[in-house]
Every structure is written in C-alpha cells, then in structure tokens.
Symmetry: C2
Subunit: 507 residues, 2 copies
C-alpha cells in the first residue's frame, strides 16, 4: 500500500511561496489556431507524403518492427517498408487525439492534445552556461538546479527529460539519476530515458515504485522523445525504446529531426511532405505495438545555412513548417509537438531572444500541444543556459496569457468607466480599474520597467545580468515538494542495486 | 519642366551595391491573416464603439472641425461631438481601402492597404544610442545616418518621418531639414511634419518643388502621423495638420495613442472599443475635409504597468489589441497601421528583442499595412539605437519572407529529389538543392552562425557588438541616390528663405 500515489501527496495541502501555483488557466488555448493553407492544398501535401511512403518507402532498421509491418500487410523488402496509405491511415487513426499526462501531484497532471498546452524545458544539452557565463560540461547538480527552476516556473507545467546531460554520471547510470531528480525535486510530469530499451525499462520500474503497478498500467506518467533519423530512417535504438514505452501505455513524441536543406529537400513543401511521412510511419508503428498507445505528432525544426552548414532557428522556413505541422496534426486528430525557445546564438543576447521568439510565437498560434525546449536553450542546444531559462519562462507567460484570450462581457467593455472618466480624463483611479488592477497585467520579473535614470543609477544591468541574479535567488528559495519516505527509500534502493549491476565502461 | 519627377530619376539606371534592390516580393503578404474573434463578436465590439461616440461623444477641440461636424449633422455641444453611427460609417466608407504612397524613385513607391506592407523605421526619439552605447540628444547628423541606414535596408520600404528629433536644429526649422534629409539621402517614400499646420504646408511646398504641382495634386507622396489624445480628444494642432494634409490628398495615419489602463479602461475589450471609436471619428473627420482622402486606421499600443506606471510593450494585451485592429480594419475596408519593434528595455539586450518581436510578429499575422517603428526603437521610444536598427531590420526580413509564403508546385515538393537521395542519404549535393541553394534561405547579417569555438576565438562578440560594427561599415558605403541638381538647389533655396522668415525662439 506504500505505493498508492495518494499517500505521496497527502501532505501538500498548504501551498508556500517556494512552490508554484497548481491551477493555471493559461495552459488552455482559448484563441483560434492559424491555418496557413486551405483544405485542398492540405490534401495535396498529404498526398505527396502518402506517395513518399508508397513509392520510396521508409527504413525500419529493426527486425521486430519489420516483422510487424510484414504481418500488418506492408510491402517489406530488406529494411525498406512501403506502406499503402489505407493501412497507414487505419493505424494512425488508432492513436488518441488527447491523453492525460500524469504528474505525481495529480493537480499538476496536464492534458496533451486539443486546446491544452504542455511546456517542457530544454532537452539534451551536454554543456551548461553558468551564472558567470562560463561554458562547461553539465553535471548532475546542474540538472537538479534546472529541475528546481522548472518546478518554480509557473509557465512550465512539465519538468522535462534530459534537461542537460549530467556528464559526471556514467551513461549507464545517468537515466536513473535524472529520473530520480525529476521525482525528488518536482512534482510535475516528466519524460523518460530513451538511450536504450533497458534504460527505458528502468524508468518504468522507477515509475512502478512511485505510482504502483495498477496505476501505471492505466495511466500515462511519462512522455518520451523518439527521433527519426531523417531522411526516412527509423533506427533500432529508437524503435526498441518506442516499443518499451508504447507497450506500457506510455506516450512517445514521434519526431523527425529536420535540418532543412541537409536531411530534407531544400524547399519547404518537400521538407514538410517528408517529415509528415516520417512522423506518420512512426506513429503507425506505435499503433502496431499497442493499438491506442498515446503519441505526439510533430518534428524538431531547423534550417541549414548554405553558407556555414550550421543549423538556423526561428527562420521563415521553420515558421511555415510549424504552421503546416499544426494543420496536419488537426487533420489527423493527433496532439502536436512543436515550439521551443530555440536559437543558434552563442550568447544570451538579442539574437538569442529574436530567434527564440520567432520559433515559439508561431508554435502557439499553430495550436501546439507539447512544447519541448521551452526554456534555457542556447547555442543550437549545445548549452543549457540558467539565465535564459528564466528569461524564456517569463516570455512564455506572456504568450500563455495571450493564448488565454480575453473577456467580452459588459464588465470588460467598461462603457460605464468610459462614461465616468470622460474625454481627456484618466482611468488610473476609477472604480473599474481598482476592481482589476491587481490581476490585469503581467510584468515579467526578468524585465526592467523603470525610468532610464533609475536604471542607470542602479548599474545599467541588462536582462542577462538581472536573470542571473534571479536564478540564485530562486534556487535558494526552492522547497522540494513532499515525497513519501518509504517510496523515496524504495526508489533509492532500486537505483543503488541497478547501478551495482550495470557496468560503467565507455560507450 | 525642371519639376517633373522623371528628371530626378533618369540617372539611376545602373544599380550599385551601395543602394538596396528596388523590387522585393516580400512586401506582399501571401499568407492569410489571423482572425481572433468571430463575426458576431466583432459586431458586438463595433456596437460598443458606436455607443461610445453616440452616448459619450468625443472632443474636437478646434472650431473649424466643430463647424464641419455641425454641418454634417452631428450633435455638437461646446467641444463635444456625438456622432450617430449612420453618419459616422457613411464618412468612413469614403476612405480608400488602399492608396499608392509614392517615392521620388517610382520603383520604390509602395501600396498601403490590402496585402501590401509598408515598413517605416522608429519615429520621434529625442535621444540616440550611439555605437559606443552612449545616450545623448539626437542631432541632425544622426538623423541623416538613420535615413541612410533605412535607405540601405531591404526590409524597410519607407524612409520614415522624425526618425529621431534633431535637437541641435531649432524646432521652427527642424521639419524642413528632416524632410530634406529624406529627399537627399534616400529615394524611398517619407512622412511629413506634424508639429503645426504651417510646417505641414512647408513640407507640401518642398514636395511641390520635388514632384511638381500637377503630380502632387494627383498623388500621395507623404503619409503623416496624426495621434489622438486618448481618451476621446482630438486637439487643435493635430486636427489643423490633418486638415492641411487631407485637403492636399496626402495620407494621414489616424492613431489613438493607447496606454492601456491609464488612458483607456484597464480591460482589453474596453481599451479596444475606445481606440476604435477614436480612430473612426478621426477618419470620418478626414473625409469631411476631403472625401476620399487617404487615411490609415490603427493605434499605437502600450500597456501601463500597475506597479511602476511605465508603458510596457509586447504584452499579451497589445497582442490581442493588434489582432482586433487588423480584423476591424478589414471590416471597415481600411489600411491598417500597427507593429513596430517596440520595447521598454533600456539596453539592446534580450528583453529588447523579446518585446520587439512580441509586438512585430503578431502585427504581420494581423494583416498590417503600415508598420511604424519597424527598426531602431529602444527605451519606450526615448532613444533611437543605431545597432538595434540593423538587428530589427534583419528580423523584419525573416518575417517578410515568412509572410511571402511558400510554393506548392512539383519542384517545391521535390519528390524526385527524395527518390534520388533515398532513406539515410543527404540532400546537400543533389541537383534539386543546387538549383535552389543560392536563394533558399536568408541569413541575417547581424546573426552569428558558426561554431562555438570559432565564435570564442574571434572574441565572443554578442549581436549588439556585431551590429555596431556593421553600422559603421554600412554608413561608409552609402551612396546617395541621384537627385536633379536644379531641384536640389530649389529645395535648398526654399529652406534658406523660410528659415530667414521663421523665428527660432524657445517653444
């Protein structure tokens, strides 16, 4: 009975300031989505994707997957699988359009799909950018600090996965330390390890301790990232990890890794047709593993500079692809992965901010459901930056409040207030303003809103300096959410035992 | 005959690199606009605006305007004008939905309205931020430098108006020096002075010299900024300047100056209903002056911090207002003013970039036609920043390329290229890529796209440092577009004579 999730949560009734509020309206998109193209054109794109899978086919470099496809009726030749559109779409239709992504605190569970939005921080950086601007390999202590910051950020409702690579921990052990950090220092939903099927099984085992077998079987407590090797290759590691999670009813983000111009055609229509084919083939395979397995459709997007070969973010092309992804997700009735505050900039400067928002703002209007890399991403993802984490999270709140829309009742129209104030007056003291001013506007805590003179006298700090100071303050104030001691001990015991059994040689 | 515009342009046949290309497809929006609300709700908002003008009324603090309104059938009581919706909408309907905004180089004329987009730089800053980061009062030499930068920026197709206040020139003379700088150092369309009706007449006189009487009478060569004193006051200066320009068939941007929560209701629906009423009343008055006079509908938007009283930019509220403005502009069949790379930040940092793009990206999707403050705006408009000018202009190109949409023909779908490359290959050398790589992607020149190591070795410059270097380089390369010498002499003679006649005492 120690495993019932209710036990783990019973103590957290009184909310203190060191933890974020649990119920935020702003994770629901109340504004319409933006359609870039009409239905006819959407069908034309869909048709090209179908032709890719029928005429060129896609590689599944994994014998179990190949056998499944053969059995399902696809044309399998060596590792090449050609999938008739009818078969493909039958399987895709089995995927749920929305699923509940549970946190260990049930008040922090989020819907993924429909009008709901889940925001997870940066994923996968080997380096961190410290508060003094140093770039060095990430450590487990950094990882824990990012988990704490995400826990404290009202705009992030998912704790994330590999928020940075804790390079000081052997690869063979790392997945468990990461998962434990998410469990211990946060109570928001988290992502599972994907570097091998055994490690995925370890993550499942830890979740079994945390949630109990019965709960886990019926609920999705992890959403994990499965990338396609574009163009048109699903490799054995990704497929075998996908199999572990899908079989256990855990969600997978099925994401082509797009570097437009390098691993896709240079033209945007072609790039999209390919990514759509890749994503649908992966999603259909997840349904072969377990019909109804929760999946997220989408892609990770960059444009490759034809001058330097570097990936570029927040480009016109990634914006167009983002909107097409949203429309196609709706056409197929699938949750959509998108977004991210992504940049190629090496510094937390204006380039970083421009590119991040050129990526993230379209993703909101495109109707995104799962936003990866929502905070902290720097330098094409090579570095996770503490200061940028807070800067991004603040701007995310602006977008969430925008997506929450506005009221149109008579109180919102305020005709009486206008009559009271009259031409040439001001509204600062009127009754209507007094009723609303406390909740009316959001002021990002990393932003500066005073006078120039005041700012100058206080040392002319830029937003990077302010955010860096704030990181320290926030981390000092973090209070871990309560975790049942028996569960905690069991988690630690499992990890210790597994570590003993797992060799830590170089990979 | 010296005044025919053809003469002034006959020499510029060969284009050199020190001037921007003339024909850019990216000023046309090929993507759909975004509708925030449905038709029913739009009508409800419209109705509240009508009730504001009918029940509260609006101040026209100018005897000529009051007489016109009385004659037109409005209910005039002292300076308060109550306008029945039928009368108002009859007048608004007279305004053209689009007009041609002529540059002295006809190849640089731009449409304002429909799917066309005109981008003008920052307007009205008393200070500049120099290349060393110093903040000081702006001078005429700064003004000229901004005109040169706008001339060289492919993303700016309007030279602007008061790009900064040349504080070293007496106010009584300033408008002519500014207009002359636009004429002399650029050949893009420009904006006229608005500080008094006499100064507006001086601007018209200079344009008569440049274009000739006949051309000026039939064509719009200036678009000038007429702000409403919100809430609900049109003052005599603005109205008398509006009268000068509208009577001469020159365009006016009729723009409420919104500081939400201070000079409008704190709620967004109320703020919009008020700005809509103000803008429509101003537009209707322009039509009383001259039926068919070109106008632009819109507003300048900020949200007032309830903590510090400072204006905030790129907020959720300004985003919602921007989209509503676009929808209403389409409902009324009017060109829409919006946008700007606007920020309250004191530094050209990430806050500045985030807020700028939180403002500008929605403006593009909202269907904006005239974008003021598109480059260089810093510190709530108090400073015009040289480096930010280039940073903003670069990001504007990203947005323009996005707005230009994408191709969907078989070449764009690239199915043959995908067949050629196949699963697991790459597209970098394939024939399809070679056909497109030169024009495929845009790399902002202020952005950094190399490796971390390269960046570090080259001095770890941030985007502000790179842009500052680039400003110097660009200004050194500027070549003024040819201007007929006889016209030039006549312009200078007019200015010299007027300066003699105009006292320069303190205002």
């Amino acid at each position: 009975m120690a495993r019932r999730p209710g036990r783990a949560r019973s103590r957290r009734r009184t909310q203190d300031l060191s933890s974020p509020p649990t119920v935020i309206r702003h994770y629901i998109r109340e504004i319409p989505t933006y359609d870039l193209v009409g239905d006819e054109r959407l069908e034309a794109i869909h048709d090209v994707s179908m032709r890719i899978l029928e005429e060129i086919g896609i590689e599944f470099r994994d014998s179990i997957a190949l056998a499944s496809w053969r059995e399902a009726g696809a044309d399998v030749s060596q590792t090449r699988v050609r999938i008739p559109r009818k078969l493909l779409m039958e399987k895709v239709a089995m995927a749920p359009s929305t699923y509940r992504f549970c946190g260990r605190n049930p008040e922090r569970s989020v819907e993924v799909g429909g009008r709901s939005m889940a925001f997870a921080p940066i994923y996968g950086s080997p380096y961190v950018r410290t508060l003094t601007g140093e770039r060095r390999y990430a450590r487990l202590t950094d990882f824990v600090d990012f988990v704490k910051l995400a826990y404290l950020s009202p705009s992030l409702n998912v704790s994330g996965g590999t928020v940075c690579e804790p390079v000081d921990i052997p690869v063979a052990h790392r997945h468990m330390d990461m998962l434990y950090a998410h469990i211990r220092h946060s109570d928001k939903p988290f992502m599972g390890g994907v570097t091998s099927p055994d490690r995925a099984r370890d993550c499942l085992a830890l979740c079994r301790i945390l949630y109990g077998d019965a709960f886990l079987d019926r609920n999705t407590v992890m959403t994990s990232l499965i990338n396609c090797n574009s163009p048109l290759v699903w490799d054995d590691t990704m497929l075998s990890v996908l199999r572990v999670y899908a079989a256990a009813n855990q969600a997978c983000i099925i994401s082509p890794f797009i570097m437009q111009g390098a691993n896709t055609p240079i033209t945007t229509a072609g790039a999209f047709a390919q990514l759509n084919a890749e994503a649908l083939a992966g999603i259909a395979y997840a349904q072969l593993v377990r019909p109804g397995a929760p999946v997220v459709y989408g892609a990770t997007l960059s444009t490759v500079s034809m001058k330097t070969g570097a990936p570029m973010y927040g480009t016109s092309e990634t914006q167009l692809l983002t909107f097409l992804t949203g429309q196609m997700a709706r056409r197929y009735g699938l949750p959509m992965r998108t977004g991210g505050m992504r940049t190629g900039s090496k510094a937390t400067d204006s380039q970083a901010a421009y590119e991040s928002l050129q990526t993230m703002l379209p993703a909101i209007l495109a109707g995104g459901n799962f936003f990866l890399h929502s905070a902290g991403w720097l330098e094409s993802g090579l570095s996770a930056c503490f200061a940028k984490f807070l800067l991004d999270a603040d701007q995310l709140t602006v977008l969430q409040r925008f997506a929450a829309g506005m009221d149109f009742d008579s109180e919102a129209f305020a005709l009486d207030a206008m009559k009271e104030v009259g031409p040439g007056g001001h509204f600062l003291g009127c009754a209507h303003t007094l009723r609303h001013y406390e909740t009316a506007f959001f002021t990002p805590e990393t932003s500066e809103q005073g006078t120039y003179e005041q700012w100058f006298e206080e040392g002319s700090q830029d937003s990077l300096a302010r955010a860096s100071t704030l990181v320290t303050k926030k981390l000092a104030g973090h209070n871990p959410p309560p975790l049942d001691e028996a569960i905690d001990e069991e988690l630690l015991a499992f990890i210790a035992k597994r570590k003993e059994a797992l060799p830590t040689g170089p990979e």
